[in-house]
Symmetry: C2
Subunit: 216 residues, 2 copies
């Protein structure tokens, strides 16, 4: 039966959207296989015809699951949440769930797309300043929202999809030398979340395709 | 009671993300009030402290609903869907729902953010070529996906959030002079959807803040 086959994640160790999906699998306790797609090597393995058939956007992640192939990390995460047992990644209450989606989308539509590889490749030499600008802009909005919604985690005291989006975005921010210390709520939540095993085992420094010099 | 107060949409006639929310309200038959936020006038009314309190991202839309304020159009649409009667905007089957979210996110995270006002303002003189490039890139991926999922509408024969995202994105494509004729499935779906009343009454050419010269 298709549902007894392990899902396959086509991802890249350092892709923040791939990391989101790895966290979701880990939180749900779902075993999966990884097929790394090196976004840099050979001019970008995501650009091959073979990969394009899996995800026409030529981005990671793409996930083969239950006989279908899905892309777009938040769609994948919500599918995993709706079809697998384990802790809820979206809360039951509609208003709280809307807050989780609002924070997730602020990151997934409002911040991350502007540091996507195919975007900063087009920006060229100024990609560092460009990325810093849009991460700072996003974090300036995210900080007051999280101040209102957060408990132990982004929305109240339960881990949710919002947390799954936050941690990889902070990792990106650090890569682009954004001073995360300016955002005390974001900083506190990120530190709390990085204590959790699901966020650790899924970390870019611990994946099958992590280069030796970046391995934890 | 809060749920008996009409929702208030803070939006802009030409904003594709505002249009998404207007379509959702119309499909659900929910009455709402509009408070226009002119993104151009006075240097951008979304930049005022007053508006920033509603949406720290300083973008439209923001929606006051059931005693809370939500931003991020897909979070708003799913909240409306989960709390209001009327036709489902997300299908009941998890796999079909995942397809709807995948298509919605491809547009909402993969295409639209790159033509957002605050992004193309930073791009400057080359904003037309920039926008065309990323819309074409997105539509080249969307076309084969829709070829597989579409029936009468984006996913099968029921209208969904994917359709709510598609039509405003095609409108944006036309504004940026993208030749939508290159994408026959996108073109066909857009034409079919524009026949539907909810897509017509919510159209940018028919809003309270539509300038006279753009009014239908």
């Amino acid at each position: 039966m298709a549902t007894q086959t392990k899902p396959i994640l086509h991802g890249y160790f350092r892709s923040s959207c791939s990391w989101r999906v790895r966290i979701a699998f880990a939180l749900k306790g779902v075993e999966y296989d990884q097929l790394p797609v090196n976004l840099i090597k050979d001019g970008g393995q995501q650009l091959t015809e073979e990969y394009k058939a899996l995800n026409p956007m030529q981005q990671v992640p793409a996930v083969e699951i239950d006989g279908t192939t899905l892309s777009q990390s938040l769609a994948v995460i919500q599918y995993i949440d709706e079809t697998r047992p384990g802790p809820r990644l979206l809360p039951a209450d509609p208003k709280t769930r809307a807050q989780v989606r609002m924070i997730s989308d602020l990151i997934a539509s409002g911040i991350q797309p502007l540091q996507n590889l195919y975007v900063i490749q087009k920006i060229g030499a100024e990609k560092m300043q460009w990325s810093q600008h849009f991460i700072d802009r996003g974090f300036q909005a995210l900080e007051p929202i999280l101040k209102q919604t957060a408990g132990k985690y982004c929305v109240g005291d339960e881990i949710s999809m919002a947390d799954i989006c936050l941690v990889p975005q902070v990792y990106n921010a650090e890569r682009f030398k954004v001073d995360v210390g300016k955002y005390p709520t974001i900083k506190r939540l990120n530190e709390a979340l990085l204590e959790i095993e699901a966020f650790q085992v899924s970390h870019p420094s611990r994946q099958p395709d992590t280069p030796d010099d970046l391995r934890a």
